[in-house]
Amino acid sequence: MSITIDVSTFFRKYTNGQQVVEVYGNTVGRCLDDLVKQFPGIKQGLFDESGKLQNYIDIYVNGESAYPEVLAKPVKDGDELHIIFLIGGG
């Protein structure tokens, strides 16, 4: 088994339009590392130059926010992650 990441529409330009990506890892951070390994272009959208998660991104694990220790949040097989990009259009 693995973990699935549901990629919000903004980030699908980095995943060849894929909405759901299967990743491996025991923390949110490790899962994102695996995502970057599969789709290197997404790194610039997810992390700033110092390697911190961009402040316009939220990660949810099984529908609940991973805030505040987002990258260290443990995950297990079968979990579902959502990457949410902050939007403000109207």
Binding site: D6, S8, T9, F10, Q19, Q54, N55, Y56, I57, D58, Y60, G63, E64, S65, Y67, H82, I84, F85, L86, I87, G88, G89, G90
Partner: protein
Amino acid sequence: MLTTDELERYDRQIMIEGFGEEGQEKLKRAKVFIAGAGGLGSPVSLYLLAAGVGVMRIVDHDRVELSNLNRQVLHWDEDIGKSKIDSALEKLKRLNQGVKIEAIEEMITETNVLQLVADFDLIVDAMDNLPTRYVLNKAALERNIPFFHGAVYGFEGRAMTIIPGQTACLRCLYGGVVPGEEFPVVGVTPAVIGCIQATEVIKYIVGIGELLTNRLLIYDGLNLKFTELKVKKDPNCEHCRHLASKE
């Protein structure tokens, strides 16, 4: 008290279980503030007007541009160059003359927001940028006014309802700011999200159903999928932490 005309006009919604004449009277007494007369503000104002809210104040400072017309259905070809407020008012007052509409051409800022929302029962967030949404969020919390959030990007939209002191607020949901303000969007997305916001407003006023509180609704039009994420009150939220004791 509803008039004979009102009883006929709103007959189909009065028929809804739990709505009734009492619900319609509540709508008639309600004063709704709508921030923005654009993509979201168009469906929100049209459907709340059609539903028979008592007073509607709509605020915007922009002028109609050609590039607005794919989604801002209150504004038409003939309105290009007009203020959005004049254009909106002209259409809205023809839809339902029983509603008092106040259209204000002004930019919403930290300086004027409390004055603009004063005496209103609900605030609908139909803005096109996050900084002003945060200004409205703070004002709603300060004045204890329910706040109905909606936002769009491309085929994606989001909505959440905020009850000050009881539920997570917009700042609990979002910590940052978006780089750049020009966003892609197809008109059907704000139509969907604006109707969800208007639905929440009607439910709140009438007092039926379950509100979209502590839940972020995500609409993915490309896959025609709705997803819900749980949102918790952030005890360190810079906007609402002082309201924690009201829970």
